[in-house]
């Protein structure tokens, strides 16, 4: 491991981190803008040109707000929880392949921070730890609304992780790898996994909505019943961390959905016309980000269209619909893969 390698990885990690934060920051702006437009309003348009400085103004406001830590709360955990939430949200970005590789001065630099051979397991592990941020925050607040919100969040995330995991197992069966980099590389051209696994893709997207606690699965923070849910007692930038973590999760979910099912950085047809490797790699990054931005827009679009589930409906959908469907998907995928062996039993 040379010094150059370390510097390259460090630079890439910092870029990924910075871009993640920047996009999460502007997602807050985009959310308000999209919500406005979908409701025949204009959204924020005062701070700067078209309101482009609104996220900065929001951040300044959050920093300036009074910091309230309830005297009956568990102080250490109360402070740790939002940090944990944000940390786990940021950690997922490292295994996502943002592009193929760029060749500079004869050396090839991969645009993936690390291609773990168990990338998917890592992704699921980190996402599961995300529940802790919410659970600890809700518990440490020592407030019944917070606790209820946190319990809802964790039970919801645990329920939907099952269906998500099973739908991913079907994907792993067809691709034959746990490495996110290889899954992306396999989807050259039009060989997108969504065409192979349409049902799995649908289940994964629905579960991704539930995992990020976004509408219509935003029960942990449903205002009518739980005030603010798990972040009721939070104020100032600690609350900002929670909100920020949600937007980072949304960005990462869009990136994961694009990479797993919609071809990642692969673009159909372009490879035929352009043969310069570096240009192709950069175009791939642009294409991936276009997919991600559409994904983020889709998240917002759904949020401002569909009303929230009732709690029993949420659990029914998770356990009685999505899990059986994902198991069916798993069985069908397995049967299709073993079709020759199965057929040879009957036609002997």
């Amino acid at each position: 491991m040379t010094l150059g390698y370390v510097i390259y990885k460090l630079v890439l990690a910092v870029i990924v981190f910075a871009v993640t934060l920047l996009i999460a920051m502007y997602s807050t702006y985009a959310e308000r803008k999209v919500a406005g437009f979908l409701q025949d309003r204009l959204g924020p348009n005062r701070a700067g040109w078209f309101g482009i400085l609104q996220p900065v103004a929001d951040a300044v406001k959050l920093f300036m707000k009074e910091e309230v830590i309830p005297s009956v709360s568990n102080r250490t955990l109360f402070i740790v929880a939002p940090g944990l939430s944000l940390l786990t949200a940021c950690m997922t970005g490292v295994v996502i392949p943002w592009g193929t590789s760029i060749t500079l001065f004869g050396t090839s630099y991969s645009l993936q921070v690390t291609d773990l051979n168990i990338g998917i397991l890592y992704l699921f592990g980190v996402v599961s730890i995300g529940v802790y941020g919410i659970m600890i925050g809700g518990w440490a607040s020592n407030n019944k609304y917070s606790l209820l919100g946190a319990m809802r969040a964790s039970s919801q995330m645990i329920s939907y992780e099952v269906a998500m995991g099973i739908s991913i197992i079907a994907l792993i069966m067809t691709t034959g790898t746990l490495s996110v980099g290889q899954i992306a590389a396999q989807q050259q051209g039009w060989h997108w996994n969504v065409l192979v696994q349409p049902l799995g893709c649908l289940i994964f997207i629905i579960c991704a909505f539930a995992e990020t606690n976004r509408a219509p699965f935003d029960l942990p923070e449903c205002e009518q019943e739980l005030v603010g849910g798990y972040h009721t007692e939070y104020s100032s930038m600690k609350m900002g961390f929670y909100l920020f973590a949600e937007y980072i999760n949304m960005f990462v979910s869009s990136a994961v959905i694009s990479t797993f099912y919609f071809g990642g950085y692969n673009m159909p047809f372009v490879g035929r016309f352009i043969h310069d490797g570096n240009l192709l790699a950069i175009l791939g990054v642009v294409f991936l980000f276009a997919k991600i931005f559409f994904g983020i827009f889709f998240f917002m679009w759904v949020r401002w269209t569909i009303p929230r589930f009732r709690y029993d409906q949420l659990m029914n959908l998770g356990w009685k619909t999505l899990i059986p469907l994902s198991i069916l998907n798993l069985v069908l995928t397995g049967a299709w893969m073993m079709r020759h062996e199965i057929l040879s039993v009957f036609i002997k």
Binding site: F37, L38, Q39, D40, R41, L42, W301, V302, W304, T305, I306
Partner: protein, 191 residues
């Protein structure tokens, strides 16, 4: 029974078909509806730069008129205060001293004339009651203030300026009907 609107619908509690139970088509059509709103014209009025178009006879902030020579028309008769349904107007009358003929048209004038803009309902009854055509409502809006006291407007705000360019045009509120009525001098309050 006659339905009250054209959109009334009889509710049936029938079993949903499989197509309906999947929900996805319904969700998709719903999302198309919200998406179509994305491109609709926004009815927002960007307030400080754009203002809503006012009616020509809009009833906004009051003005106390001066006559052509620049003397205040108000004689502090108190009819406006009596007419005011919100009891927003108060005044203190004073006698005109010799040498003040240029300032006040009649021998009695309002030393203090206050309208509480928070009480005022902008009905225009003061305008109707005024025998001297001294008070009018204008198309100006009452500005926001930081405390309640500032909303009690005194003569410094209400009386129009003496200079030609500081006069407030109220010709729109002096409808022909009103002008015609005020010509009839046989009515006590038109004299």
């Amino acid at each position: 029974m006659q339905p009250l609107t054209k959109r009334s619908k009889v509710v049936v509690n029938k079993e949903m078909s499989l197509y309906e139970r999947i929900y996805l088509p319904a969700i998709f059509s719903g999302m198309m509806i919200t998406f179509s709103h994305f491109f609709k014209k926004k009815p927002t009025i960007q307030y400080p730069e754009q203002t809503r178009e006012f009616s020509a006879v809009y009833r906004g902030q009051h003005v106390l008129k001066r006559d052509d020579n620049g003397a205040e028309r108000c004689t502090a008769c108190g009819l406006c205060a009596v007419a005011c349904p919100a009891e927003a107007i108060t005044m203190t009358a004073a006698e005109r001293k010799p040498g003040e003929e240029k300032l006040y048209r009649e021998e009695k004038y309002a030393a203090v004339y206050e309208i509480n803009m928070l009480r005022c309902i902008f009905c225009g009854d003061c305008e109707d009651a005024c025998p001297k055509e001294a008070i009018f409502l204008t198309d100006r809006k009452v500005n926001s203030e930081l405390n309640r006291k500032s909303f009690v407007y005194g003569k410094n705000i209400l009386v129009e300026g003496v200079e030609k360019d500081k006069r407030v045009d109220v010709s729109k509120r002096q409808t022909p009907g009103v002008l015609e009525f005020k010509k009839h001098k046989q009515f006590e309050h038109n004299r």
